[in-house]
Structure formats: C-alpha cells, structure tokens
Amino acid sequence: MTTGGGRASSAPLLGRDHEPTLFELSRAGRRSASFRSTGIPEWEADELVPEEHLRVEPVDTVEVSERDLVAHFTRLTHRQYSVDVGAYPLGSCTMKYNPKVCDEVAALPGLARVHPAAPAALSQGWLELLVELEAALCAITGMAAATLQPAAGAAGELTGLLLMRAWHAAAGDERRRVIIPDSAHGTNPASVTLGGYDVTTVPSDDRGCVDLEALRAALDTDVAGIMLTNPNTLGLFEEDIVEIARAVHGVGGLLYYDGANLNAILGVTRPGDMGFDIVHMNLHKTFATPHGGGGPGAGPVAVAERLVPFLPGPRPVRSGDGQLDWEDPPRSIGRIHSWHGNALVLARAYAYILANGSDGLRRVADAAVLNANWLRRRLSSSYDIPFDRPSMHEFVASAATLKRRTGVRALDVAKRLLEEGFHAPTVYFPLIVEEALMLEPTETESPQTVEALAEALERIAAEALEAASAEGSSASPTAALAPRTTPVGRVDEARAARQLVPTWDARPQGE
C-alpha cells in the first residue's frame, strides 16, 4: 500500500520539506471528476469515431481524489511568494497591489461567460468596454487609437514593429534597421528581429540616457525607427526626448515607446506629447492586473493618427446608430491574437482605471516616484548608485563596490533579501550596470515598508562588510549561503540545465 500516492500529509506547516508531485500522489482508480447528467445515449468511443483515430489505452494523466488535489495545490501556494504576501521591489515589473475588486470584475458572469465568436449584437457590453478602455488608454498616452489584441508587452512590441514596417512599406520605403539603446529590455531586440529588422544598438551616455551624438551618427534613411523606454530601464527620464524625436523623425523614422515604465509618468506627461508614434502598455504593470506567476498580461498598442489605418483588426467601433461592431482598418497589418486579446485582463485594467480616475492615476505616479527617490537617496550610503540623480519610479543600484570589498555579489544580496521577507530586486539588468540591483518599490508600498526594505538592504551590506573585515576574507558566509529560511535553499541552476529534467517522466528512475 505504501507504493503509489494519495498521501495527504502535508509538508510540515511552513517547513522545508518538498511537496510530492501530483504524480506521486496518483493512484490508479482514484478520481475527482463527475459530470452533469444529460440523458444523452452513452455511445461507446467506436460508435463516435473510426477505430484508426482511437487510442487503445486511455491517456494516463494522473488519478487523485479531489481532497488530495486541493491539498496539493494549496500546499504549493504555501511555497510561493506573491504580492499578497509581501513587497516585491522587482525593478521594471511594477509589482503593485492588485485590487481585489478587479478579481470580482473578471468573474462577473456577464463578462466571463461570453463566447468570443458571439455576434456583435449579442456582445455589445464587451465591445463598449473595449472601446471605452481604448479611449482611456489613448487619453493616458496621448495617442489617437489603440489595438487591445496583444497579450503581453512583447506581443505589443512585435505588433508595433509590424506597424512600422507596414507604414514604411505603404510609402514604398524599405528600411532595414531599428535602433535600440544598450539599456533596453531583452524583448526589444528579440522583437526587432522578429519584425524583420536588424538591431542597431546606441550607447548610453554618462547620464544614463541615450547618447544623442551617437544616436545622430546612427541615424539614416535605412532606419525604420527607434524603440525607447522612457523613463528608461535605469529609471531615468530621457531628457533629450524632444531632440531625439526630432532627429528620428528627421530621417523619416518612427518612435516606438516601450510602456513598461509608464507608471512613472501617469498624468505627468504623455508619450504622444513627447513625439512617440507607437506606444505599448503593459496593463499587468501599470494598471495593476495580476501577473499570475508569469502571465497573463495585456499589451495594448496605441498609435498616432497617421498609423491608425494600419492597426490590427478587427477593431470594435461605434457606428452611426450607437451600435458597436467589428471593423477591419483599411490597411490593417492583420490579426495578432486568436480572438480579441486577453479580454478579462482588459476588463480588470479598465476597472482599475475607473477606480483611480485622473486624480488617482496622477497620485500613482507621484507616490511611485517619491518612494523610489526616497529609497535611492537612503541607499546611496550603502550601495553604489551609478547614476545618482533624481530618478523616476525605479532606480538601479550596484553591488560592485560591495563585491570588490566583500565578495558579496548582487545575486547574494538578492538571495539574502529573501530571508528578510522581501522579494528580491531585479538583478543584472540593465546590462550596462555592473552587479545591478534594480529597485522599484511601487506606489502601493507604504513609507514604512520602503523604509523596512532600506533597512534590510543596509543590514545586508553592513553584515557583509563586517564579516569581510572580521575574517579578513573576501567572502561573506551569510549572504553567500542565503536563503536559508525559504522552502528550498539556493537552487542549483547549472545542474538543471546540464541534466535536463523537463517533466516527471524524464526523471532518472528511482530518484
């Protein structure tokens, strides 16, 4: 009886034992499922489908009781950090509080039960919602129209690049290069490639901004456009943005705005006013839709008037009689999602925008930027701050000096911070900062939380320095061993790649 699964004993509550996999809990013949009574004749498989298509044995997935299923996944959640558990100062990710009311919105039967192929006449509420959200996003970004189809930021980027391509193609203008700064997020160059362009990287200057001279040198009529994040991934506002726009437009290029950092400027300034032609937003960042452990997101793309005819279709539009319908823009690049985008994510974001309104969104930017600057100033005595000037909603510190003095790297600081009850910052990004620690407290963390985070980071630095001077060695045992209070200790990433075990079935026998 000991073989096979079904064990509902938990890993010790809040302890460090591993949770067995669903497959270890499985036991042939056990079952959770039950199905609605229908009264339909119970034809056998071969009365439905010709034999040649039928499998011989049922697909062996897993066999667990509902009780064990529930216990298993509940226990897994106890091994998972989340916004609802604590602060998440993960730079570039805008891990703010996700209002619970948005969960209720996403569960409304009137929204959740609508089939995506229902004719427009039967889904007017949804079309209305999409049109209103589009208008709000345009108001926020200063653009003319938007597509809500992209399922995440990267999908938005690629959509934007295809818009760029279509725009130039419509003018008979075949361009081959897209410029991105060296501080750009990895999705930017990857999207450029998929958009069929070559990447030209421009360096950052010593202010941490795009080097205007280098940019000018890189610009010519082969340049389709430039992708910028503003504030950029160092958390710095590109102060030369107006000149940049002028220069890029000067060679006939377009400006693409990576909206990952839009949170910083809500109600303060708008990409459209800066001269951007194409803007993607990460609703799962700025507009508080939950990240879901890695997704779903939503990455709407807004464009300037002249690009509207190229937007993906179909788009929801209001006709003369007030009714809403789907319409393909005349020169549409085509569809980019199976349906209308991550609709329930869009509904959540719209609820968030309604709840905040113009006043609340500005307050978001104010507090996000204030928290980040407070933290930057506070940490400037214990960490390097490579570009130590007023930042926006995030900033990049560096453990370079700490590492030189104590051997403690950015990675160690991150792992040690987990022990302190905080999620780690983003590390080793952007690439242009050595031992980067990218910190974004977000506006929903209170001043006390931000201060506690500062104290924890200070403690980590102080303890490393102390250990280094005490032992005369350069390795701080404490941080290098961290984390020790988490469900598992530091994970062997190299082994995972070397001895790939991508599924339970690929596991070497008997382990």
């Binding site: 499922a33 009137g110 085509g334 969104l361 990433e493 079935d505």
Partner: protein, 455 residues
C-alpha cells in the same frame, strides 16, 4: 475614489523633506516643461469600488450572449469548470506572483508548471512542453518560427483546416519573419496534401521545400484529420510536422506524438478556463526532445538546492530574450502561466478516467445533436469526415441568420464559418459545438427551435 496609494499627506511631506523637495511636482522637474500635462488626464475622477463594480456589471448586462445556451465552439468551448479548479486557480499566491525569477520563493508556481509540462507531454505524446504561450495562434506562429530556424527554410504549408484566425495570425507575423504561408485546401472536410511522390523534390505548393507542414485535428470544421497522412506529406518534403491538437479530444484520440508529430501545439482553453470573450487563454507548445534548444518561452526543470532537496527552476534560459536578445528563439516574456496552472489543476481534477469521459461525453452530445439537426429539412452535413465535439452543417438560410434567430429563442446556435473559407464549400456553413454541459433536453429544444428558424 478607491485609491490604492497608502501615503498620508504628512508622510508625503516627510518624504519630500528628506529629498529636499518642496512639492510633488518637483519630483518631475526632469520632465521638460513643454511636455508636462497641464490640466491632468482627460479622464473622469476616480470612482468608489462599489461604483466600479456596478459599472462593469452594467457592461456585462449588455452581453446577451452570456445568457444563451451555448452551441458555439470554433476554438473556444463552453465546458463546466468545477469548483475545485476555480478555487485553487484563484489562490492569490498563484494569481499575484511574478515570473519565478527567484526559485527559492517560487516553488509553488514552478512545481505547478513542472506538473503542467508533464501532463501536456503525456496528452500530446511529446517529450518537452514549455510553460505556455499566449494562445493557440501564437503557438502556431512559434512552431512555424521554430521549424524555419531548424530547417533553414522559410515556407510553411498550412492546412486550410487550421483555425482561420490562427492562419491570419500566421500571415500577420510572417510579414516580419518573411516566411511564406502556403494554404493547402480541404477536400471533403480534410486536408488534401499534395502527393508526396511527385512533389518531394521541389517541396510542392509554392516553390522550394517547406520548413513544416501544419495540420489541425480535429480541424476547424470539427473533422478528424489523418495525422499519418500529414506525416507522409511532411516526410515527402523533408519538413517538420506541426500538429495543432485539442486537449479534450486527447481523452480518446491517438496522440499526435505516436503518429509522428515533431511539434504539437494547441489552445488550452478547454482545460478549466472560462470563455471570457476570448482571453486569457492558453497557448500549448510541446515538441520532441531534439528541438528543446529552440523551444520558445519558459521551461521548468527539476534540480536540487544546496542541501540536495528537490527543487524546480526555469532552465535552458540561454534561449530566452533576456539573455540571447536579438538571437533569442522567441521574444515571449510574460506568458500565460496562471492559465497553465489552471490547466494542470483541471487535468488533475479530470484524471485519466475523467479526461476520457469528457471526450466521450462531448462526442456523444455532438452525435446526438448532429443527428437531430440533419433530420431537419434542408440541413445537411458540411463534410463526410468523422467529427467529435464539433461539426459543420449546411443550412437553408445563411448561417448568420440562423444564429440571429436562435438567439431570440435563447440559444447561441453556433459560429458561421465565413472568413477564411471564402470560395470553399464550407463558407456558408454553421459550426456547431456540443460540450458535456449540454443536456438532451437542451439539445432537443435547440433542434426544435432550429427547425422553426429555418422553416
């Protein structure tokens, strides 16, 4: 207003003072004055939570489709979602966590994804599954990209039986990659692959050999395709075989893996995910082990921690955009993790027997419904090929009219085939899907309303 900023006025001032600033506006002096928004955003003021909920509920009230008994499918299916799946997938640790960049505090999501990958491997018959893509369409695009990279070719043969939206998305993204999408027509509801013998050298339709052959089974019209035939077509052209499969149908159908697929993609919505007007859904992507280094998106692997305890981590990250940048296998970053976790829970709830029963029940309902519809004067099957959960019928009136009329009777009658099938015999057909939720009484009522509507 329901504000989520905790700072009191006093705290704002204390913090500004620490920075030597006199006002919040001074935080933004780096923004050139000309760019600063004068009057604030052109939006209404914020609303209290209760008003927000009311407003969205009213919008929901405008969706008559939500109330109709659903016979629509076309890639999105009205399955029952059990309470356990809903409750577990709604646990806030799953919902509000980020991508598991810090594995030591992300074992919950990582293990759930590892289990998802294992389950997907089992139902598709493949060795590798990623941790999700956006949707069925994006999974097809990534499969095409993988095949092109693997073969160094840039043509993709796509069966016309592939969901028309997915075909459109393939074409949209092909504008960037330069791939050529060649559609292979249907005959009698299933793909008529070019003869392998004659075309093997040149690669058949289009010019030059294809990187891959993409077939969907059951296809958009509900017809079961012959995967072996597609495999032969691929072999004939030296191409990879990409199969778009339905996870529910896998309960009784042979796996694409055992029939020779190199990559199996699909739409995971039927695995516990609500209709939700089309999203968030779940792009499924599985492949053979030899292709793992070109896998798009995240992959979770098992490893150990410093004390030898079992642990999970995202692995082979060198494929990904944050490391490989312009040379990455894909640009995907945020994916649909929560949906993958949902699917793992749902597959766990269904279990081996339940998945089979689910497939059977869909098939039974569809057969019962098909027989009732084709008994109606003027209603005929669109194709002779076998079907499972979904089938297409030719109707005496245009399909859209039938849908409109039946909505008045309380039914979402199906999906008009239309776009993507222009000029084919299927263009005017109605696609009807029957899930395990539909009772005999509902189907009887539907058929009798149908009869009246087309009379």
């Amino acid at each position: 207003m329901a504000g989520y900023v905790p700072h009191t006025d006093e705290e704002l001032e204390e913090m500004l003072a620490f920075l030597g600033l006199g006002s919040l506006d001074e935080l933004f002096t780096v923004v050139p004055p000309a760019l600063r928004l004068a009057g604030g955003l052109d939006l209404d003021e914020g609303l209290p939570e209760a008003d927000v909920l009311d407003r969205l509920q009213r919008l929901g009230g405008g969706n008559r489709a939500a109330e109709l008994v659903c016979f629509a499918g076309a890639g999105a299916y009205d399955h029952d979602v059990p309470a356990a799946t809903r409750a577990l997938a709604g646990r806030s640790e799953f919902v509000t966590s980020y991508t598991p960049y810090q594995p030591e505090v992300s074992q919950g999501v990582l293990q759930a994804l590892f289990e998802f990958q294992t389950l997907l491997g089992r139902i598709s018959g493949m060795e590798i599954s990623n941790a999700s893509l956006y949707d069925g369409a994006s999974a097809c695009v990534e499969a095409a990209n993988l095949a092109a990279a693997q073969t160094g070719r840039d043509r993709i043969w796509v069966s016309q039986g592939v969901h028309p939206h997915w075909r459109q998305v393939l074409r949209t993204f092909a504008a960037g990659t330069g791939h050529e999408i060649v559609e292979i027509p249907l005959v009698d509801g299933v793909t008529a692959w070019p003869d392998a013998g004659t075309d093997s050298g040149s690669g058949g339709p289009g010019s030059g050999a294809p990187a891959a052959v993409l077939v969907q089974s059951p296809n958009f019209l509900g017809c079961l395709e012959s995967v072996p035939a597609a495999r032969r077509a691929a072999d004939g052209a030296g191409a990879l075989l990409l199969v778009a499969a339905d996870p529910v149908a896998s309960g009784i159908l042979r796996t694409p893996g055992e029939q020779g697929a190199d990559v199996v993609v699909g739409e995971g919505q039927p695995l516990g995910i609500s209709l939700g007007f089309g999203g968030p859904y779940l792009g499924l992507f599985t492949c053979r082990a030899n292709l793992v280094r070109r896998l798009p998106g995240r992959l979770v692997g098992e490893t150990v921690d410093g004390e030898g305890r079992r642990a999970y981590v995202t692995t082979l990250r060198a494929r990904e955009q944050d490391i490989r940048r312009e040379k990455a296998s894909s640009n995907v970053c945020t994916n649909q993790t929560l949906m993958a976790v949902t699917a793992a829970i749902q597959l766990g709830w269904l279990g081996t027997g339940g998945l089979r029963e689910l497939a059977l029940r869909c098939g039974r309902g569809a057969r019962y419904c098909r027989e009732a519809l084709v008994a109606i004067d003027g209603v005929t099957p669109a194709a002779p090929a076998p079907t499972l959960r979904e089938f297409a019928v030719r109707t005496p009136l245009p399909a859209a009219t039938v849908v409109g009329r039946l909505a008045e009777e309380g039914f979402l009658a199906g999906v008009a085939v239309g776009p993507g099938f222009e000029g084919t015999p299927y263009e005017d057909c109605l696609l009807v899907a029957v899930t395990e939720r539909r009772t005999r009484a509902e189907i009887d009522a539907y058929a009798s309303s149908f009869e009246k509507a087309v009379r």
